[in-house]
């Protein structure tokens, strides 16, 4: 039962916590982002799930989850998520071995920053018709067109892995350097400063034949699974964030006095914190269960187990962040205190990679069969 954390995972967690505690940068925006990223890369985190054959550490999703949990706890602003949780699973699920061996070493070392374009909100429930970018074969190469309205880390990424709708039907995976001719990108003002986004417009972007990374047919099957892995690792990040909200709230309410006693001694406050903990532990359990069912990137993914983790973690984080603001009283609402940062991050995470309701519907489909309207 991998509900048990191994000693190695604990060591990884301790290192991550210690490093990030000294380098949190969520509130300050851009300064120092690159220094942090180089530090993270130096610790080998971008390499975590990259196979050893591709220059990575070859660890499992559980280890990636540990890193993302700690990074979620500290709200770090870095492209770690877009790499480890988003780009790497997509390549490992959909790209050919040759492509992986060519691309992953630089990503594992953190030399290149990557992101993914695969339909609005990067939902695992997307189909070809839902993709924003179209690709057509043009003699020896490819031409890509379309606008991706919101690209995560799209302002700093060196390249994007684009899942495009092929002219002949189906999906294809392409490597798109940000500086390609015909790509224009525009940074967007995100509420969550730690999750920067940009709009990418592709206007007749020409790519060489080898920019197509998938063996035909693999993306249609692999994209959902890859984005489900993203959702699972997002759950880990959210567990970290929710745990932090509780820590902050308990510490603040123990300190703060009202009516001559610590706010933490009021039963209503205690019960609210206890409910935060109930939700957090539910999310932790769900995450552990999903990681046990999905140890690595090979094989069929236990989609319903991912749904459990996704729904519980998103709900716990939203609840804990909102309660953290409320129980901090007036200051919870101010820029200087962290609850608002978690609140924004929780809001963001509830909308991407399939909303919790979309995941619930997927579970319902598994229980009852897909719902046909007018049946």
């Amino acid at each position: 039962m991998s509900a048990v954390i191994t000693e190695e995972q604990q060591a990884l967690r301790d290192t991550a916590a210690a490093y990030l505690a000294g380098h949190a940068n969520a509130r300050d925006g851009r300064d120092g982002d690159m220094a942090l990223w180089q530090g993270i890369a130096g610790l080998g985190w971008p390499a975590v799930i990259v196979p050893e054959a591709c220059g990575g550490l070859g660890l499992g999703l559980a280890e990636a989850a540990v890193l993302l949990e700690e990074s979620g706890r500290q709200l770090t602003r870095s492209p770690l998520f877009s790499g480890v949780a988003l780009s790497h699973p997509l390549l490992l699920r959909c790209a050919t071995e040759v492509a992986c061996q060519r691309l992953l070493p630089a990503l594992a070392e953190g030399r290149l920053i990557s992101t993914v374009i695969a339909g609005p909100g990067l939902s695992p429930f997307v189909d070809a018709a839902g993709l924003e970018i179209r690709a057509r074969c043009d003699g020896a190469g490819w031409v890509l067109d379309g606008t991706a309205a919101q690209v995560l880390d799209g302002d700093t990424a060196d390249l994007a892995f684009v899942v495009a709708r092929l002219e002949e039907g189906g999906m294809g995976l392409f490597e798109l350097p940000a500086d390609s001719q015909g790509v224009s990108r525009r940074p967007l003002p995100a509420w969550d400063l730690s999750r920067p986004q940009a709009c990418w417009t592709l206007d007749g972007v020409r790519l060489a034949a080898e920019a197509r990374l998938d063996a035909p047919g693999t993306v249609d099957a692999g994209l959902s699974a890859a984005l489900a892995v993203t959702a699972l690792l997002l759950a880990a990040e959210q567990v970290g964030g929710a745990a932090r909200c509780i820590e902050l709230t308990v510490a603040y309410t123990r300190e703060r006095q009202q009516f001559g006693r610590p706010v933490a001694s009021f039963q209503a406050v205690k019960h609210r914190c206890a409910e935060m903990m109930v939700k957090l532990e539910g999310a932790r359990s769900a995450l552990a269960g999903a990681l046990a069912a999905c140890p690595g990137l090979e094989g069929a993914l236990a989609l319903e187990e991912v749904a459990v983790a996704r729904v519980q973690a998103a709900g716990a984080y939203r609840f804990c962040a909102a309660e953290a603001i409320q129980l901090h009283g007036g200051v919870g609402f101010t820029w200087e205190y962290d609850p608002q940062l978690h609140f924004k991050r929780a809001q963001w995470g509830g909308q991407w990679f399939g909303t919790p309701d979309a995941w619930r519907d997927a579970v319902a489909d598994a229980l009852f069969g897909r719902r046909e309207e007018h049946e």
Binding site: P120, G121, Q150, L188, P189, A190, W191, D192, R195, Q197, Q257, Q258, F259, G260, F266, A268, V269, A322, I325, Q326, G329, G330, G332, F333, T334, W335, E336, Q340, F343, K344, Q347, W348, G350, Q351, W352, T355, D357
Partner: protein
């Protein structure tokens, strides 16, 4: 004056608004108010004088004090029509609806003559200095001190969560005038000019990045000896009386704003193409139902009139603030990933502000927790614990 027909009166308000909230004032439509106080403050100050010239300030004040002594039903009608026309959030409401009734009831004739005209004419703006860093929910824990020396009140201390402080000329403050006193004893209610060296106003940056609350620091600030309402030591009584005047007459106006926000949300749902999603439809219907309930609740409050505070008044703040918070969450779910971005489109931006700012609704003016205590103790007679 009660012979005025409500329908005629409403038409008169609507007509006046249609003729005045135009031209350079048009940008003020639906702007201002909590969550949007930083919008066009200078223009909104000017607008207050336009309002005054139309005779719309002091509708409920006694005629003896320059008011129009309108019945509650017409005051309600005014607030509704004002909000329906998109009238901007009022810069003068603290003076008009909180301080003025207090001065009329408890102030001296000299204070009335000195301060009421500026309020009625939309020239003098007031803000409120109650909360302190250590006295938020627990006002009795106030630590600011004041003392009379050389014919002047001196004031030392800090107030917090003061909205509109940077746009006001005066602040009313409760501070401890009896050294060593505790709790509700020994407090005094002072009127203090803000433009003086002893006062420093520091904006508090909030989660939206804007700042509509302030900290106000008093470092040996001064005010005249007669700028005290009630006797020294009566501060608690005066403060509580003041809170009692805001019986929610502007409530229906607030609800018209809510109604405007709900309409923006309905439009946004249509625009986003999610108006066929059964779950979102139901949640939007629930929001509509909640707002009608708030309206019916407010009508119960007004119907009771002066005959005391009923249960519907006791639950009202808790009800509206939590409703509003849910509205913000619903709006973001309607927007989906587009809600991640600071919208440059006015209606969506407004809804995003509702989402963020409404987190404060359940905190200021009595947190949810304080409200529930009050409901249990005053409404249900449960022991103080």
């Amino acid at each position: 004056m009660s012979e005025i027909d409500e329908k005629t009166f409403r038409a008169e308000v609507a007509d006046w608004m249609a003729r005045h909230l135009v031209g350079r004032f048009e940008v003020l439509r639906h702007r201002g108010g909590p969550g949007d106080e930083t919008a066009h403050p200078e223009l909104r100050r000017e607008w207050e004088q336009v309002m005054a010239s139309g005779g719309w300030i002091g509708l409920g004040w006694p005629r003896a004090h320059g008011g129009r002594e309108l019945p509650v039903s017409l005051q309600v009608a005014f607030h509704e029509e004002y909000a329906r026309a998109g009238g901007p959030g009022r810069m003068g409401h603290i003076g008009e609806t909180l301080l003025a009734p207090t001065l009329i009831d408890l102030g001296t004739p000299a204070q009335q003559q000195r301060f009421l005209p500026g309020i009625r004419e939309g020239r003098t703006f007031w803000c409120q200095g109650y909360s302190e860093p250590g006295a938020g929910s627990d006002l009795a824990a106030i630590r600011s001190r004041c003392w009379l020396e050389n014919g002047e009140w001196h004031l030392q201390g800090q107030k917090v969560w003061t909205s509109l402080a940077h746009d006001s000329e005066w602040i009313f403050v409760i501070a401890r005038s009896t050294p060593g006193s505790v709790g509700r004893e020994g407090l005094s209610f002072l009127l203090v000019p803000l433009a003086q060296p002893g006062v420093e106003i520091r904006p508090i940056r909030q989660m939206t990045g804007e700042a509509e609350f302030n900290e106000v620091f008093f470092d040996d600030a001064r005010t005249a000896a007669d700028c005290i309402v009630g006797a020294p030591g009566d501060g608690w009584k005066v403060a509580m009386a003041l809170l009692g005047y805001e019986r929610g007459l502007s409530t229906l106006g607030q609800q018209m704003h809510f109604s405007h926000e709900l309409q923006l949300l309905v439009d946004a749902a249509r625009a986003a193409g999610v108006d066929h999603d059964p779950a979102l439809r139901r949640r939007i219907a629930e929001a509509w139902i909640g707002l009608r309930t708030l309206r019916a609740n407010a009508l119960r409050i007004f119907a009771r009139g002066e005959s005391g505070v009923g249960p519907e008044a006791l639950v009202y703040k808790y009800a509206w603030s939590n409703w509003h918070r849910s509205l913000g969450e619903l709006a973001m779910d309607v927007m989906g990933t587009a809600g991640d971005l600071q919208a440059d489109n006015d209606p969506l931006r407004r809804l995003q502000q509702v989402f963020f700012f409404s987190r404060a609704d359940t905190i200021y003016a009595g947190t949810n927790e304080i409200q529930l205590n009050l409901i249990a103790e005053r409404g249900l007679g449960m022991p103080r614990g």
